[in-house]
Structures are given as structure tokens and as C-alpha cells.
């Protein structure tokens, strides 16, 4: 629980740094980053570790919760919550909200990036003597004329006459993300859902971060106050920054 939870905190920090490029970077930068994340072998290993951690953490958490429920077969007629925090009493509910979010999030973005055959590709529009020209960006920094190539295998550019591959494009995850949160019908709902999930995450980490160190026995008169402070800052700042991104996108022009 503690090890997987802390590993997921590291994952969150990394994932956040990438996502922030949606606000602070160009679409090309973001798509370069997205390509790096889906192809780099070191990142592959980390991503498998992350999938395993989420699975283990969720299964372990659910088993733990059932065992703990079974330890008190008859409940109290009157309870008083004053001796523990809301977050600490609702870790499983908060975690389940996060799990549902992770699944929908993966269907919306991760699965598209990995399996969607009709992903749009990164384009650049330039002014030319012949008027506006749409070019595809290629992964080695050059451009190909959109009119002159045929796209095969999702990202490969082919010269149709020569039947030769002339370049490879970036999947435009940036565009997918912006369209998702700006969708006329559901954009606001998706944005709200994202923000709510981040709220659950904040509460989960408010208790969870310091709890992990207590579980590992990593405590001390100097260490524990520092961990508690860092955990509180982490649990507020990280979900908040995550949540700002879809809000920014939804209201951007």
C-alpha cells in the first residue's frame, strides 16, 4: 500500500510536469513529449510499473477495506467522527473515485494515443506565394506537404507515386485534448468531472502521503513534521495544478 502509493505520487509529479506543457508549451512541444512518452524504452518500463502499481494499490486497498469492515460485524448506534479526519475515514471511497477517473481518463486519451487508427497528425499552416499551405510536421523536424503525401499506418507519410516512406508524423494528442475539453455539448461536464476527481485525489493524498511513511515506520521527531508539511503541500498543489489545465483549456479561445 505504502510503496505503491508513494510510487504513484512520483508518477503524479512526472505526469503533471508533462501536462503543464498544455498550458505553457506549443502544441508541437506537447506532441513531441507525447511521442517520447509512448516510445522511449525507459519510460515504457516506468509506465508498466505504474500500471502494476495502480492495480496492486487498488486491489490491496479494496481487500484491506473489506477485511477492516469484517473486523466490526456489528456497528455502533451512535458515532462521533471527531477523533479522525474525513479523508482518513474515506480512503477507499476516494480511491474508488480516482480509479473510475483513471479508467475513463485512459479510455479518452491513453487508448486514443495507442490504438486509434484515425488520430489527427500535427500540422503547421504557412503562408506561401500560392496562398495558405498546410504542412505535416515530421519527427525529424522537417515538413511534408499535406496534399503531396498519403498517410499509412496512422503516422507514416508515403509518396504515392514512388510508394516510398518520406517521413513520420506526430499524433496530435494536443488537438484531441483541446477538442475534448472544449466539446460543445460535454466539454463542461468533462472539465467538471476532471476537477472533482482531482478534489478526491487531494483528500486521498491529504491523509495518504504521511500515512505511507507511518506505515513504513519512517518517523522521527524531526522527520515526521517535515513529511506532514510536505504531504499537505503536495496534496493541495499537485491536484490543483492538474485541475487548472482542463479549466484553462475549456475557457481558452
Amino acid at each position: 500500500m505504502a510503496l505503491t502509493g508513494l510510487f504513484l505520487c512520483l508518477f503524479l509529479a512526472g505526469h503533471l510536469a508533462g501536462n503543464l506543457q498544455l498550458i505553457f508549451g506549443t502544441s508541437l512541444q506537447f506532441n513531441e513529449y507525447a511521442l517520447f512518452m509512448t516510445t522511449n524504452p525507459a519510460v515504457k518500463i516506468l509506465s508498466y510499473l505504474t500500471y502494476i502499481s495502480i492495480l496492486f494499490h487498488a486491489i490491496d486497498g479494496i481487500l484491506l477495506t473489506f477485511q477492516n469492515k469484517a473486523a466490526r460485524p456489528i456497528g455502533y448506534a451512535k458515532t462521533d467522527g471527531s477523533s479522525s479526519s474525513f479523508a482518513s475515514r474515506n480512503m477507499a471511497v476516494l480511491g474508488t473515485i480516482i480509479l473510475v477517473f483513471i479508467v475513463t481518463h485512459m479510455v479518452n486519451f491513453w487508448a486514443k494515443m495507442h490504438f486509434d487508427e484515425s488520430m489527427p497528425l500535427q500540422e503547421t499552416v504557412v503562408e506561401s506565394p500560392m496562398g495558405e499551405l498546410t504542412l505535416y510536421n515530421t519527427v525529424n523536424g522537417s515538413y511534408v506537404n499535406k496534399e503531396a503525401v498519403e498517410v499509412r499506418n496512422v503516422t507514416d507519410f508515403y509518396d504515392p507515386q514512388l510508394n516510398l516512406k518520406v517521413g513520420q508524423g506526430y499524433k496530435d494528442l494536443h488537438k484531441i485534448t483541446f477538442e475534448f475539453f472544449k466539446d460543445e455539448k460535454f466539454g463542461l461536464i468533462f472539465t467538471l468531472g476532471y476537477v472533482l476527481a482531482m478534489l478526491a485525489m487531494a483528500f486521498h493524498l491529504w491523509h495518504g502521503f504521511q500515512s505511507a511513511f507511518q506505515s513504513l515506520g519512517a518517523t522521527g521527531s524531526k522527520l515526521t513534521p517535515a513529511i506532514k508539511l510536505f504531504g499537505k503541500l503536495f496534496s493541495v498543489i499537485v491536484p490543483l495544478l492538474f485541475a487548472i489545465i482542463p479549466i484553462y483549456i475549456h475557457f481558452s479561445k
Binding site: Q67, N68, A71, A77, K78, S85, M91, H207, S215, G217
Partner: protein, 253 residues
């Protein structure tokens, strides 16, 4: 402190004939309770009234009535040992209540603490955990070393003494949403782990006591911290962290 006065109260008390019967909350009215009386004296007064009415008195645990034996229990108005902190139920006074109050009185609720009758629960699970490892080996062949001749750092001695203050009342289990006994076991493990006398059995002690704790059906600690707040002897969560360290150390040995 204001002068004692008499109050009239309503009581909702768990009544259960024996271990195998179902049990239910029953309502009683008790008049003229002095605010200077202790909570247990109030129950004595109720029982006198019940006996006069030819009804079965309420069974509840108590012994020393001065906060040292750990026998008195009771979940009062949703809190272990009632309102007020750092006290056992025998140290709770009726001045904490007001005229016309309804007071809920329930037994400790835990799978490992089955109800014997009314408010009396069987806490022998704690005894079995103690027997599994809560002891030290002493040379009794005639050359027994006086404990005071073994130097102990003051800080360790103080911490061991604070851990040894646990009276095995079970409030930690009763108040924990997981019905976990980690504060009790943490205190018992710490008491010996901190002292040179406890080093001999250190590895086996923590493994055996934790195994026994799990076998008894107590839940798992998720660090909600309610135990520390309700413990009448101020046993701190640090003892649970120390036990976790001892357990990890022993597990990799």
C-alpha cells in the same frame, strides 16, 4: 468549578442476555443524578432502580475505579470512554452532561471482542497477544542481574515507560474504524524493543504478536489516528511506527 446539582437523563443502553442472543438498544429514564457522581456511579444508581423494579441490572465491566486497571470500557455517545480525553470511563464524571441529555452506552464493538452480556465484552484476545510475545527471558539460576544495573539511555527509558503505561483497556480497538489493535500491540512491542532486556526475543516477539493479532480478527491499521486521541494513557502513534520498523526488520532477517 460549579457546585454539584442533580440532573435528569435518558439512557439508551445495549442490552444482550448472553453471547448468543441478539441484543438491542433499550431506553431508560434516570432522575436525580448528581453531577458530582462518576459515570459508573450513575450506572450503579440505574441498576439500583432496575433491581427495585425487579428488572435485570445492566452488566458492565469495572474494577479499580481509579483509571489504572483498564477494566471499565463503554462506548459513550459515540466515543470510547465518553466525552473528555485522557481518561477511562471510571474517571468520567456526570458534570460532563446536561439536564435532559440522552446518553448512548454501547459495548466495545469488535469481532475480536465478543459481547458476553450487555456491555461486557471478552477481551482475552489481548491476553493471547501478550502471551505470544509480551515477555522477556530472565536468568533465574541464582545469578539474576538486577534490572537497574543494566544502563539504559534516559530517552529510551522514558519512551519505554510511556509505552508501558498501556492498561490494555481496548479503547483503541473500539474507536478505530478498522477495529485495529495496532496501538495496543505497538505499545507492548515498543516497551520491550526499547530496552536491552527485550533484545533477546525482539525478532520473534514482533512476528508472533502481530500474527496473533491477525488471527484474533482485528482489522488493519490505516493510520486514522483515532486510537491515539481516545487512549486514556496517551500512547502515541509513534509506537505503531516503531512496531512497523521492528516488523520490517524481523521480516527481512
Amino acid at each position: 468549578m460549579s457546585a454539584a446539582k442533580n440532573i435528569n437523563i435518558n439512557l439508551k443502553i445495549w442490552r444482550q442476555k448472553n453471547a448468543s442472543s441478539k441484543g438491542s438498544m433499550e431506553t431508560y429514564k434516570l432522575d436525580n443524578v448528581s453531577t458530582a457522581s462518576s459515570f459508573l456511579e450513575m450506572l450503579d444508581q440505574l441498576n439500583e432502580q432496575l433491581v427495585n423494579e425487579k428488572k435485570e441490572p445492566v452488566a458492565f465491566d469495572h474494577d479499580c475505579r481509579e483509571g489504572i486497571c483498564g477494566m471499565c470500557s463503554l462506548y459513550i455517545n459515540g466515543r470510547a470512554h465518553g466525552p473528555d480525553t485522557g481518561i477511562t470511563t471510571c474517571q468520567l464524571h456526570m458534570r460532563m452532561f446536561n439536564d435532559g441529555d440522552t446518553i448512548y452506552i454501547e459495548p466495545w464493538r469488535s469481532k475480536a471482542f465478543p459481547v458476553i452480556k450487555d456491555l461486557v465484552v471478552d477481551r482475552s484476545a489481548f491476553d493471547r497477544i501478550q502471551q505470544a510475545g509480551g515477555f522477556v527471558s530472565v536468568n533465574t539460576s541464582g545469578n539474576t542481574i538486577d534490572a537497574n544495573s543494566i544502563p539504559v539511555p534516559k530517552d529510551d527509558a522514558d519512551k519505554a515507560f510511556m509505552a508501558a503505561a498501556c492498561i490494555g483497556c481496548g479503547a483503541c480497538v473500539a474507536t478505530c474504524k478498522n477495529g485495529s489493535a495496532m496501538l495496543f500491540v505497538g505499545a507492548k512491542v515498543s516497551q520491550y524493543a526499547l530496552l536491552p532486556q527485550g533484545k533477546v526475543e525482539a525478532t520473534q516477539r514482533v512476528l508472533n504478536m502481530v500474527r496473533q493479532m491477525d488471527e484474533e480478527g482485528f482489522g488493519n491499521c490505516t493510520n486514522t489516528g483515532a486510537c491515539e486521541i481516545e487512549c486514556p494513557k496517551g500512547i502515541s502513534l509513534e509506537n505503531i511506527a516503531r512496531m512497523n520498523r521492528e516488523f520490517l526488520k524481523a521480516s527481512v532477517k
